[in-house]
C-alpha cells in the first residue's frame, strides 16, 4: 500500500525538453497528466547567479557527472524544466540531413522535415525563438564571429529562446529575470494551470508491467535534509493508461533497465555525446567571458569533413570561475596563473557530430550491481581523436585571426601557441583519455528509434509505454538538441493520445 495513489491518462516521468512539451500538449488536448520530476522546483527568485548554488541544486551529480573513467564530463540539468532551466538558450531545428540519414540507415520514415515543420513553427512562435542581434553579441562570441569572418569560415548568428533578455550571461545558473523561455517558466506553469499535476522531488523507481502493458509507476517523494542530502520519503503509485518516459538520455534507459525492460539488450546502447574539445585564448583586450548572452554565434564550416571522418561545429561557452577552474587542466601555480587571466580570456568549444560513421556504436548507459549510480562508458575512437585534433587547430586559427596573443590547449600539460605557426605543435600532443579535456553538454541516445522504440516512439514490446526525449535519437544531431527535442515531443503527442483513446 502506498502513501499516495493516483490514476491518470498519462504519467510523464521527467519535466525537461521532452516531458514538458508533451505534458503541455496532452493537457491542452484535455487529458489528465501526472508529471514526476526527480529534481527540485526552483523559480527566478531562487536563482542567485552563484555557481555553487546552481550546480548543487540544478545539475546531475552536483555538476560533476562523468563517464566511469572520468575522461568526459557531462553537464546535465536536474530540476523542473530539466536542462532547459540551465542551458545556454541555443535553438536549431533538427537538420534535414540527419533525418535523411535516420531514414536510410535506421528506417525512420515518420519523421520528415515536412512533418516536423509545423511543430517547430508553433514552438518557435510560442517560445520567442529568434536570432540574437549581432549588436548585442558579447566579446567572447565576437572572437568566433570575427575569427571565422577573417578566415572565410561559415558563421551564423544563433537563435535563442528568450523574451526581454537583459544580456546578463547567467543562463547556465538559472535565468534571474524569467527572460529565458525555459520549460519551468513557460509550458509547465501553463499546463499546471490547466490541470496537469506536477510532483517535483519525486524519484521513479520502476515501471510495473504485465503482459504487454505498464500497469503502475512506482515512485517515492524525496525529503531534503538540513545539509542538502536527500532521503526517501512517502511512496507513490501512479496508475496510468499510458506512460511516457522523458527522463533524458541517461535517466530514461536507466529507468527501463531498472524495470526489467532491455529491448533484447538494446536499452542503454548508442549513447552519443557530441564529445567536445575546448581551447582557451588570451587577449590584450578585456573579454569578460562570463558576461552577455553566452552562445550567440556558431560555425558549421567543418560539419562535413569527408568520407570516414567525424565533423564538428564550433561555438562558445560562458566562462564562470568555478566551472572554468575544474575544466581547466592541471593544478598549482600554473593553474592559478591561468585563472588570473580569465577576464582577458576567450574560450571556444568544438562539438563532434558523433554516431554517423558505421563503426561508431556510441557509449553505453548501464546499471551497476548493488549500486544506484549509472555506469556510463564512452570509448573515443581514432576518428574522434582525429576530429578533436583538427578541431583544436581550427579553433586556434580562429582565435589568432581574432587577435589572440596566446592560445592554449586543455591538455594536462597544455600546448602553448604564440603564433599561427605554433598550431602544428598540436600534432605532437597526446590525444588520449585524461591527457586532454573532453566535455559534453548534449547526452543523446540510449533508447534509439529503430531498436528500442518504434517510429511512433512507443517501446517496441509494450503497448502503452513511450519514450519521448533525446534518448530516442539513434545518432547525435550535429546541432544543439533542445529545439529538436521540443519538436519531436510535440509531434509525439498524437500517438500518445491515440494510445490513451484506443488501448
Amino acid at each position: 500500500m502506498s502513501d499516495i495513489d493516483l490514476a491518470c491518462d498519462v504519467c510523464i516521468v521527467g519535466s525537461g525538453a521532452g516531458g514538458a512539451v508533451l505534458g503541455h500538449a496532452l493537457t491542452e488536448r484535455g487529458l489528465s497528466v501526472v508529471m514526476l520530476e526527480e529534481g527540485g522546483h526552483y523559480t527566478s527568485k531562487d536563482f542567485d547567479m552563484r555557481e555553487e548554488t546552481a550546480y548543487a541544486r540544478m545539475y546531475q551529480d552536483l555538476g560533476s557527472r562523468t563517464t566511469d573513467d572520468l575522461a568526459i564530463t557531462l553537464l546535465q540539468g536536474k530540476s523542473v524544466g530539466g536542462s532547459t532551466t540551465v542551458n545556454w538558450c541555443t535553438c536549431f531545428r533538427m537538420p534535414d540531413a540527419v533525418l535523411t540519414h535516420w531514414r536510410d540507415r535506421f528506417g525512420v520514415r515518420t519523421l520528415t522535415p515536412g512533418v516536423l515543420a509545423p511543430h517547430f513553427e508553433a514552438l518557435e512562435a510560442k517560445l520567442h525563438i529568434v536570432q540574437w542581434p549581432e549588436a548585442l553579441m558579447n566579446a567572447n562570441n565576437r572572437v568566433l564571429w570575427e575569427g571565422c569572418g577573417a578566415l572565410g569560415y561559415q558563421r551564423e548568428l544563433v537563435r535563442r529562446n528568450v523574451h526581454a533578455c537583459q544580456n546578463l550571461g547567467y543562463c547556465g545558473l538559472g535565468c534571474p529575470t524569467d527572460a529565458k523561455q525555459s520549460m519551468n517558466v513557460t509550458l509547465i506553469p501553463e499546463a499546471v494551470q490547466k490541470g496537469m499535476q506536477l510532483f517535483p522531488e519525486t524519484r521513479v523507481e520502476a515501471l510495473e508491467w504485465t503482459g504487454r502493458r505498464v500497469t503502475k509507476v512506482h515512485a517515492h517523494k524525496l525529503l531534503r535534509q538540513a545539509h542538502g542530502a536527500q532521503l526517501k520519503g512517502p511512496r507513490m503509485t501512479i496508475h496510468p493508461k499510458v506512460t511516457a518516459v522523458c527522463a533524458g538520455a541517461v535517466g530514461s534507459p536507466l529507468l527501463l533497465l531498472r524495470s526489467g525492460l532491455s529491448a533484447q539488450g538494446q536499452v542503454g546502447k548508442r549513447m552519443f555525446l557530441h564529445p567536445t574539445a575546448v581551447m582557451m585564448a588570451h587577449f590584450d583586450r578585456p573579454i569578460h567571458p562570463h558576461q552577455g548572452a553566452p552562445q550567440s554565434v556558431t560555425s558549421h564550416h567543418f560539419r562535413e569533413r569527408g568520407t570516414g571522418r567525424v565533423g564538428f561545429f564550433m561555438e562558445t561557452p560562458p566562462v564562470h570561475p568555478l566551472l572554468a577552474a575544474v575544466t581547466l587542466p592541471g593544478f598549482g601555480e600554473v593553474h592559478q596563473q591561468t585563472m588570473t587571466r580569465l577576464p582577458y580570456s576567450n574560450v571556444l568549444i568544438a562539438l563532434l557530430a558523433d554516431g554517423f560513421l558505421p563503426q561508431e556504436e556510441g557509449g553505453t548507459v548501464a546499471l551497476r550491481r548493488g549500486d544506484e549510480r549509472p555506469s556510463l562508458k564512452y570509448a573515443l575512437l581514432p576518428e574522434h581523436w582525429d576530429a578533436m585534433r583538427e578541431a583544436c587547430k581550427a579553433m586556434a586559427r580562429v582565435q589568432f585571426a581574432a587577435g589572440a596573443r596566446e592560445v592554449r590547449s586543455l591538455h594536462a600539460v597544455p600546448v602553448v601557441m604564440r603564433s599561427v605557426s605554433d598550431i602544428a605543435l598540436l600534432d605532437q600532443a597526446p590525444w588520449e583519455p585524461l591527457r586532454v579535456r573532453v566535455v559534453s553538454a548534449h547526452v543523446m541516445g540510449g533508447c534509439a528509434m529503430g531498436s528500442v522504440v518504434n517510429e511512433q516512439l512507443r517501446y517496441k514490446d509494450l503497448e502503452n509505454l513511450f519514450v519521448v526525449d533525446g534518448s530516442v535519437f539513434p545518432t547525435s544531431l550535429g546541432v544543439n538538441p533542445q529545439l529538436s527535442i521540443f519538436g519531436i515531443a510535440r509531434w509525439a503527442a498524437d500517438p500518445v493520445r491515440e494510445a490513451v483513446s484506443h488501448p
Partner: protein
Amino acid sequence: MSETFNAFTRRSFLRKGIFGGAALALGSLGWMALRPTRPWPMPEALLRVLSPREYAVVMALASRMVPERQGFVSPGTMGVGVRFDATLSLLPMETAREVKRLLVLFDNALMSLWSGHARPFSQLAAEEQDRVLAHWRDSRLLFRRTGLEALRKLIIGSYYSDSRTWASVGYSGPPSRDGLIPNSGVER
C-alpha cells in the same frame, strides 16, 4: 614493487574504473600503508564523511594544488577540507566511500614509489609532492590519471566555490538583483 600488485591494480582499475574497482581497498593493504599520514589540525566544523587521516590527505593535496601565494588565500583559510567533506556528503554513498579509499591509496607510500619516494605523500616535501602529482598526471596507467582527476576536481572545486576567490581571478561576481527588472530586456 611486486608484479602481483602491479597486475592486480592495472587489471582491476582498467576494467572497472576508479569508481567501480574493489582495488581501491588496496590503499589500506601492504606494510607501507602502516607508514602514518602526516597529521593536520582538525577543523572546528564537524566532518560528516572524512576521517582525520583522510582530511589530512585532502589538506596535503590542497596545499599543492591550490598553494597559498600572492593574491590566493591558503586552502586552510578557505576551509577546502570542510567543503570537500560537505560535497562528499551530498554525493552517493558509494562515491564517498570510493573517494575515501582513494585518499588512503594516494597517501600509501607504495604509490609514491613510482616517483622514487618511500614515504606517504603527506610526509613529503613540497617539491617532492609536486613530482608525485606530476607522476600521477603523466602516468601511462589510466587508473592513476583517473584517480588524480577525481581528487583534483574535488579539491579545485572546493577551493573555487568560495566567493573569496573571485577577487583573485578578476571576477566581479553576479550583478545585484536590485537592478534587474523583469521584462525590460534589451533585444527588442
